[in-house]
């Protein structure tokens, strides 16, 4: 279990580096090094924080809460063939709402600064996460119908080669929908541009404008872990194999994660950011795909 947490904590910033390199490759540049995020976090940890006079304890607590919540969520997910240390009936709801808790505190911290830019980012984040949570839950519903269990480990663990052959349309739809939700939750293009710091165009970046030093380091790290966790969810869903040798399984899993990061990089390079009123259409589209998968699953199950 310790190994599992180590893998999770150490490996996640590397994925964001992969994304950056892929985008650079498409643009014909060399791009930042793979370990860039490690350097950034290390650098920020050594700096001091500047706190505005309008902020309260929420502003200082939010980065800590978000990192902790996401790390706890990482405990609930089976990664590759590593089983989840904590599993119980209904842990999906805890999973989704741990993310919700992190998001809640981030929004509050953004509002805490009293600046209009953060407020704008916060309101957008709140609106889009409302829609994406519904889509996420619908995906969970499909998986619950398919695997007849209401625990994350049961849902994902039940995906084997057999279920791929019988339930392929549903699973493909769930995968597509989850990929779209991954893009939404991690503020990737086409939802939000992580590279721009134009206040009017960003959602996530807008909320963290005023954080500095270790706080910013924690927030960046939380973002990386979030990507790792959600991506891990998706990859474990996609990989139909079960390896009895945990090392082998982990290696394949990590390879899959790198591949996913590269895929996200490709999507980011190929598309432009959507206009804000089209973002809701995007999320509704993912919702409709998930509902279609649900209908197929229900039709097959009964």
């Amino acid at each position: 279990m310790v190994a599992r947490m180590l893998v999770c904590m150490v490996f996640s910033p590397f994925l964001l580096g992969v994304i950056g390199k892929t985008k650079a490759l498409f643009a014909g540049r060399k791009g930042p090094p793979y370990l860039q995020l490690y350097y950034d976090i290390f650098k920020l940890l050594q700096k001091g924080s500047v706190y505005s006079r309008t902020t309260t304890w929420i502003f200082r607590a939010a980065p800590l809460v978000s990192v902790t919540a996401v790390l706890v969520a990482a405990f609930l997910i089976p990664l590759g063939s590593l089983r989840a240390p904590i599993q119980f009936w209904g842990d999906v709801i805890l999973f989704a709402y741990l993310f919700g808790l992190a998001r809640f505190f981030m929004i509050l911290a953004a509002l805490d600064t009293g600046s209009s830019f953060e407020g704008m980012g916060a309101s957008r984040e709140a609106a889009f996460s409302c829609l994406s949570e519904i889509a996420l839950f619908l995906n969970f519903a499909v998986l619950a119908v398919l695997s007849k269990s209401f625990s994350l480990s049961g849902m994902i663990g039940a995906c084997s080669w057999f279920s791929w052959t019988t339930m392929r349309p549903s699973l493909v739809l769930v995968d597509l929908s989850c990929f779209m939700i991954l893009l939404v939750e991690n503020s990737r293009i086409p939802i939000d541009d992580p590279a721009t710091h134009l206040e009017l165009t960003m959602i996530h970046e807008g909320m963290v404008l005023d954080h500095s030093g270790p706080d910013l380091a924690f927030i960046l790290y939380a973002g990386a872990i979030k990507f790792f966790v959600l991506g891990g969810f998706l990859i474990t869903l996609l990989l139909p194999f079960h390896f009895y040798n945990p090392a082998m399984g982990t290696v394949v899993f990590l390879l899959g994660m790198v591949f996913l990061a590269a895929a996200v990089g490709v999507v980011e390079s190929a598309m432009a950011r959507l206009r804000l009123n089209r973002v809701s259409t995007f999320i509704i589209g993912s919702f409709v795909l998930a509902s279609f998968g649900l209908m197929i699953a229900l039709a097959r199950a009964f």
């Binding site: 052959t165 392929r168 349309p169 493909v172 739809l173 597509l176 089209r278 809701s280 259409t281 509704i284 589209g285 919702f287 409709v288 795909l289 509902s291 279609f292 209908m295 197929i296 229900l298 039709a299 097959r300």
Partner: protein
């Protein structure tokens, strides 16, 4: 082979849903082309021997819906230099949700229908109904003439899926007749759209003048 059929049917419905979300004329026509191409490969996935009848249908669909009709449609909109925003009445989000609802409705309807012979895939009838309903929704919710034509063609795609159940019943002559009808129909529609474009400088059917003497 049958799993390929399932995936193809699901892709057809997914594309229909994407059509509901598309706003630009170019993307609408391209999505339709992709959907027709997937539809054309389905007779080959049904199992059974591949004889001339099936081959002719596959070839006919490809030639008609992937090559000829899109050419005509693109020709008809060539003067529309700004491929404009054409969302329709309710707005895209509501359209998408309505499309999802219609897909659910078609699943519900199909569960109540009993066939004497088992169909090739249990997804066939729901996806046929879904494509039909979504094509109809596309037709009535949009005001641009080209999107209405594409909606009609998507409806025809849905009906084609039903025809797959009847491959032995409908003689080849009738199938060819249906293809010919669709071709000439779209041909005439394209010419009318072209004339409307020339006369009015737009193809928005809600803005064509109402005939005189309209009462109520």
């Amino acid at each position: 082979m049958l799993l390929g059929l399932d995936m193809a049917l699901a892709v057809i419905v997914i594309l229909a849903i994407c059509l509901l979300g598309a706003v630009r004329l170019g993307s609408i026509i391209r999505l339709f082309v992709f959907q027709s191409f997937v539809m054309a490969t389905i007779p080959l996935m049904l199992g059974g021997e591949v004889h001339i009848h099936k081959l002719v249908i596959v070839l006919g669909t490809v030639v008609l819906k992937v090559i000829f009709i899109p050419t005509m449609l693109f020709w008809a909109v060539r003067h529309v230099s700004i491929r404009r925003y054409a969302p329709g009445f309710f707005g895209i989000g509501a359209n998408l949700l309505l499309g999802g609802f219609l897909v659910g409705l078609s699943f519900f309807l199909s569960s109540g229908i009993v066939l004497t012979e088992k169909p090739f895939s249990d997804l066939l009838i729901p996806s046929a109904f879904s494509t039909l309903f979504i094509g109809f929704l596309l037709l009535i919710s949009r005001t641009k003439a080209i999107t209405q034509v594409v909606g009609y063609l998507v409806m025809e795609n849905g009906i084609f899926l039903f025809a797959l159940l009847l491959l032995e019943t409908t003689p080849l002559l009738v199938e060819l007749g249906i293809f010919l009808d669709i071709f000439v129909g779209v041909f005439i529609m394209s010419i009318v759209i072209n004339r409307i474009q020339n006369e009015f400088d737009h193809t928005d059917t809600s803005r064509l003048t109402a005939p005189e003497g309209e009462k109520g």
